[in-house]
């Protein structure tokens, strides 16, 4: 817990520095002509405050005596969280390439069948019903086209039918 607190505080400090460096592309000081601060002032000084507060947390973690104990992650369930996060990232990465209608059912299949250990019937129903719902809700009703990637040609007859 203590270590995690320090790592997060240090990361925030690094992030603030990165923000501050970016913000300096625009004037960060007082602009005499128009009155008021320049375009970079808001992000710059807010990040500076963030930097100081995160520094304060870091300093406090070394000085304080009473520290929250216990591990940061629950060792039993950490692997679950990590695998879901990885699956999510893989699914998102697949979307532009294989299309939402392949990537999302794959994700559902992994989640329900492999991760959740559900039966074939439930998995099958959800893996088929979800893309059908998404197609009719987003593409047909809202006219929002989801990325199709490689599967684009297969949708041409559907477009012809519904648009």
């Amino acid at each position: 817990m203590l270590m995690a607190d320090r790592i997060i505080a240090a990361s925030i400090m690094a992030l603030s520095l990165y923000f501050m460096w970016h913000a300096t592309e625009l004037p960060i000081g007082w602009n005499g002509k128009t009155g008021g601060p320049g375009g970079g002032a808001f992000p710059f000084w807010l990040s500076a405050v963030m930097f100081c507060c995160a520094g304060g947390i870091l300093v406090r973690s070394y000085r304080g005596k009473k520290i929250q104990s216990g591990p940061f992650f629950d060792p039993e369930t950490l692997s679950w969280v990590v695998s879901v996060a990885i699956a999510l990232v893989v699914a998102i990465a697949l979307i532009p390439w294989a299309g939402a209608y392949i990537a999302l059912p794959l994700f559902l299949f992994w989640y329900l069948k492999v991760f959740g250990r559900h039966g074939w019937v439930l998995t099958g129903i959800l893996c088929i019903a979800t893309p059908v719902f998404l197609f009719f809700f987003f593409e047909v009703t809202l006219k929002i086209l989801l990325p199709k990637g490689l599967t684009e040609p297969f949708f041409l007859p559907l477009y012809a039918r519904f648009f």
């Binding site: 970016h22 009155g35 990040s47 963030m50 947390i57 992650f73 629950d74 369930t77 809202l142 086209l145």
Partner: protein, 508 residues
């Protein structure tokens, strides 16, 4: 009398078949979302918002408010049947709701919760109706200086009253504000903070992306970690005798209920407080005022009724500053505010003048939503008992898919979907380290207003920074802000430094 005319006009809007259908749909969805452990009103609104493009803007807002309302009712269901609060707002309901369920009185507890919620909702909607127009009139006199001072006040309430670690709260506020400056500079139009030269950042970071990331993906990750085993559902039988008995019992509690409603309404208006603390305060105070305080915690009907009135009243209360001043009173209303801005309905006093049909339609829809919620709630209790048995993995999988698609839909850019995944994972880690999430979301929504009003004032006053304190209203707001800001410091000086660990729950 003008008020009644407005309200009657409003009912003409909200009782149209489409809006009536939408209210019923919204409260039913909200009830389910609220009843699911781990998902509350803020998660529901964040996940559903991208899908509301399907209806006209004013109906979309009515839908989201109905979800908000329904979720407040729904939170009690899992508090009673599972012993796990369905949303953080229903924590106090578990204290007596769970013992009641264990004594075989789950049905009665659900009836009491629903009727008490209805009383809280109704009293607070009446208060809302009375206060909305006068407050909007006052707010008409606000210039940019007052707007800035008010936003500052909203943020300092987190520092002074939030109860979280002060340094972490300030970090989250600054982070939200800094993220809100990504994109184009408001005044000069120059690009700024374009990370890694990604073109996606030119349009800024949408509040929706942050909200879906934190309240969708982050919440699911958090729930996966904390839910080790499936909880057992207490069966609830519902009889008309119970219903009659429950209503009679609630009828005896007028003093507690009206007190809880007023308390909830005013606590709900504060950005940093909201429904969770309101419910806890109401529980504590009704125990103090009760003739039989020893029954509390062992299944007292009063102990179920008092937090439920307060959390419903608070959800209405937090709508008041959002609608009249444009300052949201809770993360959920911050999302509603963002949604309204997205649809071109900018909340604030001008909305009452320019879009009276919408405003009064929305206010009157709160009455119908409240009535619909209590009826749907009581009618569908057997369905909720069944739904709570749904395996958690199914719910998580569907929610994650909705997060991905819902994140993509508004802007149709994969950039936003990646941001959602990033915010979700980082948000999950930061939440575990006790960083509060509510100030972050509020800051991102209010950031543009804060910067714009600050710089507009200074341009108008030729760089004279004293202008903020010279104007009486903004001066007062700033003075109160300073007090809030110094509150933690005073506590620190009074008591020796004491490491406090505060449970990290999204305030709603």
């Amino acid at each position: 009398m003008e008020l009644f005319a407005h309200l009657a006009d409003g009912f003409a809007t909200s009782l149209s078949p489409l809006n009536l259908f939408i209210v019923i749909l919204g409260v039913t969805a909200g009830l389910f979302i609220g009843a699911m452990p781990g998902l509350g009103s803020v998660n529901g609104v964040a996940i559903v918002l991208p899908m509301t493009f399907i209806v006209p803007p004013s109906s979309a807002i009515i839908l989201l408010c109905a979800i908000y309302y329904g979720a407040m009712y729904g939170g009690a269901i899992s508090s009673i049947l599972l012993g796990i609060p369905g949303a953080s707002t229903a924590v106090a309901t578990t204290f007596d709701g769970r013992p009641m369920a264990q004594q075989g009185k789950a049905g009665l507890a659900l009836i009491v919760a629903a009727t008490a919620s209805f009383v809280g909702g109704t009293i607070s909607v009446i208060l809302f109706t009375l206060f909305a127009a006068p407050l909007a009139d006052v707010a008409l006199a606000f210039g940019p200086a007052e707007e800035f001072a008010l936003v500052l006040l909203a943020f300092t309430t987190f520092v002074g009253l939030g109860g979280d670690d002060v340094l972490k709260t300030i970090i989250m506020i600054c982070l939200g504000l800094a993220l809100s400056t990504v994109g184009l500079d408001l005044i000069s139009g120059q690009p700024r903070l374009i990370f890694f030269d990604q073109p996606g950042f030119y349009s800024g970071i949408s509040f929706l992306v942050l909200a879906i990331g934190i309240y969708g993906v982050g919440e699911i990750l958090y729930t996966i970690e904390t839910s080790k085993s499936a909880p057992s559902v207490t069966p609830a039988r519902l009889t008309f005798r119970d219903l009659w008995y429950g209503i009679k019992e609630v009828n005896k509690l007028w003093r507690t209920l009206s007190f809880g409603s007023f308390l909830g309404f005013f606590v709900g208006m504060l950005p940093a407080a909201g429904a969770t603390p309101a419910a806890l305060m109401s529980y504590g105070l009704s125990k103090l005022m009760s003739k039989k305080p020893e029954t509390f915690g062992k299944g007292a009907i009063e102990g179920v009724a008092s937090p439920e009135t307060a959390n419903n009243a608070a959800s209405t209360g937090s709508l008041l500053p959002m609608l009249t001043l444009g300052i949201p009173g809770s993360p959920t209303t911050a999302l509603l505010l963002g949604g309204m801005v997205m649809w071109g309905l900018v909340p604030g006093p001008m909305l009452f003048i320019e879009q009276p049909d919408f405003v009064w339609g929305l206010i009157s829809s709160l009455y119908t939503a409240n009535l619909a919620a209590v009826l749907v709630n009581l009618a569908l209790i057997p369905l909720f008992v069944w739904a709570l048995r749904m395996p958690f993995t199914v719910l998580c999988a569907i929610v994650l898919v909705l997060c991905i698609v819902g994140g993509f839909a508004p802007s149709q850019k994969m950039h936003d979907v990646w941001l959602i995944a990033g915010f979700g994972i980082v948000g999950y880690l930061m939440r575990k380290a006790d960083y509060p999430m509510a100030p972050l979301v509020l800051a991102l929504v209010l950031g543009p207003l804060m910067e714009k009003s600050f710089r507009q004032t200074l341009i108008a006053e030729q760089g004279n920074i004293v202008a903020f304190v010279e104007r009486p209203l903004s001066g007062t707001f700033i003075a109160i802000s300073v007090v809030f800001f110094l509150l933690p410091l005073l506590k620190y000086v009074k008591r020796s430094p004491r490491a406090q660990k505060v449970p990290n729950e999204p305030a709603e």
